[in-house]
Subunit: 338 residues, 2 copies
């Protein structure tokens, strides 16, 4: 099933990708040309292109067969923004508001009361237990098809508080190019995120070109049942799997069953995934997106409550992993307005 | 990533597949020709070829885009034999024997005592709890890499008690052809089995052409940890997920995130997977392998303790699902001796 491809030919060390992803498949013919136009010339881009060139050079000693070219990407903060709050958290708040008329008891029950009063500090005061309560109230109790429609409808109408753009346009243009570049070179691209698996699957194919079966995320339990003779899968208010931190390599092993060749993250929640990838035999590629652009995006790392990047940044320096500075390495952050 | 293909051209209603899986990909050129040589002409083969022709005919109203051509296969009794015992159960018994010297307490502890004495009835008398105990003693407590090696070594040396062939040669030749035929027509083939996911992944790619990331099965929990600074994933003695019966559509939704276009099973443990597939919008294909060949394989259905086929057989007749009679529809059962 692997599509392939005369792989990208990298010429010289200047980072200039001369050509050519020759994709002769089913009669179609595609030329790659310059594949990462939103990346500035620099060590990060050079490291990516150099690694891909080596992995796809059949005559070289670092050649990797296409079946083993697995690339895993975190989502929040790596493929799209995560400020001022994780977007799925904003979805949850919007759902609490939308469902409030059916739940008069929420007017006095925390954390719902605080959320409805617009008091986020009060809502967060109920801690993880409060979060889980709100998560279950908004993510469980419907069929998988119904949940898919709820998220799709929300994404179609909700707007980011700062940019006023749809959340699916708050994705990083350079990372979209990177996903496409890796796929053109025979890589299978996966999302491995702490976010909800069914939440991400509603847009991953359209926005990232990543089909639902290549999305790994946190999940709640589900149940198969016949309703009036018609089979449905219902979402239960019980956590099944948390795909974060040490859960990421566990999720990768569970869903993919082999170690990635390349991994991309932005926070300490990705550290174990990066370690697991880096420790594989032969050359591996590990990259961290560092949020350094207060003007065009956000600037945060060691002290941020969201997307905290502390230990992983230290380990990246120690081990020579590639660190992308959004400010310096990216020409643009988001795709052009539609 | 989808490879494609001028799809199989089906001419006429005689079940004669005239041409032509033209696979022009990466410079290689392959002609499909007659793709199901081990299948007798008959209604089962006709139903398969007819469905594939309709799903891949771009000008027809039943055309399905390649990304949605998901085909799911049960393993035990559908892709390989499951008599006189599930092969993974035989692996477990062999492991108990191999590990016995390190466990003197097993000489008096059930179900180990009975297994070591060759008394299968006695072993089974300890019921599900005994089975789980034995499963954990043989499948947990090592890293994923170590377990992979244990299974691979076993498969290389163990022989089936009746045929004396390696278990990986107890696969059904007509089903191997069917897997390849579907893939040549743009289908993504998955295994969805009650068997252990990591057990099957050791041979699925080599034997079935199904890569590890397309294997769904039962699992135990695992844990990521650093051992002397080296990351490992260890297998824990706790059940994570049972991919059987109503667990099969749940597993499909969890791992694939979309409903299959075609499903293949052989027992009541597959019923919910078949129902879930059949209930999708538009044409779907559902097939049951019926073990009717006492001479070349085994003959069993409603009363068999292994691979019991009762409810699903009734439902197949009611709903017009395709039922394959191994005796009548298959020219050969197993691949030729190596």
């Amino acid at each position: 099933m692997e599509v392939i491809l005369k792989s990208a030919i990298y010429r010289g060390r200047t980072g200039f990708l001369l050509g050519a992803t020759l994709l002769l498949c089913g009669g179609s013919l595609a030329w790659g040309g310059e594949s990462l136009p939103s990346w500035n010339e620099g060590s990060a881009k050079r490291a990516i292109v150099d690694f891909v060139a080596r992995a796809t050079d059949e005559s070289g000693q670092d050649f990797v067969p296409p079946a083993q070219r697995i690339a895993v990407f975190d989502n929040d903060g790596t493929l799209w923004s995560e400020q001022p709050l994780y977007f799925q958290f904003i979805f949850m708040i919007d759902r609490v508001k939308a469902l409030a008329p059916e739940h008069p008891e929420w007017q006095t029950e925390e954390p719902f009361h605080s959320v409805l009063a617009g008091d986020m500090k009060g809502a967060l005061a109920s801690g993880e237990a409060g979060l889980v309560k709100m998560g279950m109230a908004t993510h469980a109790g419907m069929t998988t098809d119904e949940f898919d429609k709820i998220v799709t409808d929300w994404l179609a109408t909700a707007r980011h508080p700062k940019s006023k753009r749809p959340y699916t346009e708050m994705v990083y243009q350079p990372m979209l190019e990177l996903l496409a570049y890796l796929r053109a070179n025979g890589f299978k691209t996966y999302i491995v995120s702490g976010g909800g698996i069914e939440f991400m699957r509603t847009f991953s194919e359209k926005v990232y070109g990543v089909p639902p079966e290549q999305v790994i995320g946190s999940s709640i339990k589900t149940k198969f049942e016949l309703r009036d003779g018609k089979p449905v899968i219902t979402r239960l208010p019980e956590i099944d799997f948390i795909d974060d931190g040490p859960g990421k390599p566990v999720g990768i092993q569970k869903f993919i069953g082999r170690r990635p060749l390349a991994a991309f993250g932005n926070s300490d929640g990705d550290l174990q995934m990066l370690q697991w990838t880096a420790a594989g035999a032969g050359p591996r590629f590990v990259l961290i997106v560092h949020h350094t652009d207060a003007e065009r995006e956000w600037a945060y790392d060691r002290k941020s409550p969201i997307g905290k990047l502390d230990k992983a940044l230290g380990e990246a320096k120690e081990r020579g992993w590639t660190v992308v500075s959004m400010k310096d390495d990216w020409k643009t952050i988001y795709p052009p307005d539609k």
